[in-house]
């Protein structure tokens, strides 16, 4: 599970795609693979890309500010941190969807929440500090919303590598 923190409004599906310069594309493609953990990581990546260190830092700041990047930093692995992590889904009638969205999103354990086109129409990731926190949180969500939560923890991980080539 990769971790993102989004701080401002981001384009939703249907948004227009901005044109990126070759330098921006190179930065986006390179830095999804990870910063080298060296004494001067930005200088090393900049020299790999043939640009200046400050140029790289400025581009990163600008791309964070305009929402091209939702985050730049360590991607934590919840399971390895000793916490609980799961994917859960709910079936919410359309007329209650907004209310339940507000209720579910009010839990700080809810990290991501997506509306999806299916009978199970709300899908969220729960992250808790302890493994036991998952079932407690699910119970609290069920009590608050009045709807069952279908817990779908990963039983086996085959692959995780999110990379978007631009």
């Amino acid at each position: 599970m990769s971790v993102t923190a989004e701080r401002r409004k981001k384009p939703e599906p249907g948004a227009t795609v901005p044109a990126f310069s070759d330098t921006e594309k190179a930065i986006i493609n390179r830095l999804q693979h990870g910063l080298p953990l060296t004494a001067t990581p930005y200088r090393d990546v900049a020299s790999e890309l043939g640009i200046g260190e400050q140029e790289l830092l400025d581009h990163l700041k600008a791309m964070l500010a305009d929402g091209t990047l939702t985050r730049f930093g360590p991607m934590f692995h919840a399971g390895e941190m000793g916490g609980g992590l799961t994917l859960a889904a709910m079936r919410i009638p359309p007329e209650h969807f907004d209310t339940v969205t507000e209720q579910v999103n009010s839990f700080e354990e809810v990290a991501h929440n997506y509306r999806r086109e299916h009978e199970l129409n709300m899908w969220f990731v729960l992250a808790t500090e302890t493994p036991e926190g998952i079932s407690e949180t699910i119970e609290r969500i069920e009590q608050l919303t009045g709807y069952p939560v279908y817990n779908m923890p990963k039983e086996q991980e085959f692959h995780v590598h999110l990379h978007f080539e631009v």
């Binding site: 693979h33 953990l37 060296t38 994917l87 590598h161």
Partner: protein
């Protein structure tokens, strides 16, 4: 990438590692010496900070220190959660093969919830159009063959929340 079973022993975070995670969960400092800047905040040397990051990446607490793009901004507007009902005795081997497909970003085995949910293999596929996602799903279907007795693709129609996974400060815990 290798297959890993999710039931590995969780690491216990040291106070120092916990402090580093808290200090960087909004992002790594965008300055020439990020380790030194973090060290100043946390009363550690730059070398110690770097050494802890290397150790956490080695142990898997951190997958990597990386840029997370907003995929919609990059033109990948269609995020299809492809889900498959795969025979239990075949899923371990076939899941691994699906996970190796270059366009599959996440691939997990998850429990069924009958009667509402019969799918036990999840493979996330992103594309610039529905056709592209469906084309990729077709390639997954080819890999699964007769072991798969049904599938569907769930597209996201709205991001309802995306704050990411966060540690709470120790004092917030109850």
């Amino acid at each position: 990438m290798s297959t890993s079973i999710s039931k590995s022993e969780p690491a216990t975070l040291s106070e120092q590692d916990r402090a580093l995670i808290l200090a960087t969960q909004n992002g790594l400092p965008l300055v020439p010496d990020p380790w030194g800047e973090l060290g100043e905040q946390l009363n550690m040397s730059a070398d110690q900070v770097l050494e802890r990051f290397q150790a956490m990446q080695e142990s898997g607490v951190i997958r990597r220190v990386a840029a997370v793009p907003n995929h919609y901004r990059l033109g990948y507007q269609f995020n299809g959660m492809t889900v498959w009902d795969v025979a239990d005795d075949a899923i371990a081997e076939l899941g691994e093969r699906v996970g190796e497909l270059p366009f599959v970003s996440h691939c997990y085995r998850r429990p069924r919830h009958l009667p509402y949910w019969s799918y036990n293999l999840f493979a996330m596929v992103h594309g610039t159009s529905r056709d592209e996602v469906e084309n990729k799903a077709g390639k997954i279907a080819d890999v699964l063959g007769e072991a798969c007795s049904g599938h569907t693709i769930l597209y996201s129609s709205a991001i309802l929340k995306k704050t990411g996974l966060r540690l709470r400060k120790q004092t917030d815990k109850n």
